[in-house]
Subunit: 137 residues, 2 copies
Amino acid sequence: MKLTNTSEYALRILTFMARNPEGLFSAKSLVEKLNISDKYLRRLMTDLAKAGFIYSIQGRDGGYRFAKMPNDIFLSEVIDAVEGMKKYTGCVLGFEKCSDENPCAMHNSWVSVRAEFVKMFTTKTISDLDINDVSKF
Amino acid sequence: MKLTNTSEYALRILTFMARNPEGLFSAKSLVEKLNISDKYLRRLMTDLAKAGFIYSIQGRDGGYRFAKMPNDIFLSEVIDAVEGMKKYTGCVLGFEKCSDENPCAMHNSWVSVRAEFVKMFTTKTISDLDINDVSKF
DNA sequence: TCATTTTACTACAAGGAGGTATTATTTCGT
DNA sequence: ACGAAATAATACCTCCTTGTAGTAAAATGA
């Protein structure tokens, strides 16, 4: 019941950048502000760029900039890009044949909990996250 | 949003044994009925025995038997024994300093989802799981 | 007692997540 | 053109989960 570190990092980075949605952020400046290791952050930035949330500007004075405005980036999209939301949708007891038609004993309560969980990420965008939260670590 | 395979296995084993709460089950017979690898199941049985849910009888005609009746074994206890429930209780965005007093932007919705999730495991016992579910894989 | 059946223990290996090191590539300022 | 500053790519490395292999130890039935 926890996102991976990778997803947490991705959301943290984008939320931080959303403080200045038009700004240009170097990997170095992000590493200094956020609590993420240098090389791992750089790898993540490449993933986020490939997913179309940001684009990179190489060379001197380069960095990263939003390719899509933060109020148009749903949290579920970010999670999908770096780890996938699918893993959060199976039977809680791991039964392959569990379904609405053939439910396990926890299916009904699980379906409603899961729906609320998924809704948290499919209805909120980066802009909905508090830009001050990134200092909470 | 998924238990580990290990927890799923542990719940599956105990639920299967609950079909006959007084019965003696050899590791071999459990491996044949459940979809768990032989050596891994045997290791898990040792963990479940150490946790006090079952006890083992070594030697010829040995096996495992409940040490505690299945209606007295809460699912959260089983998860605690093999992987720990703690990992399911932190801030969903990974902020260390997130709390009721200093909540992140997702804190409130997260707290209610998490409470329902935890309740699923702290209020149900092995007896509440459908003994027929173990064939759902 | 002894062979057989069964659990217990230790070590090892594959795979993914997280993290690090090194080298390439791009671009701007001079 | 060249050097500095920045991202990109590649290849490792470590840890945890999951699973496997081999050996040791225990206990019963004959």
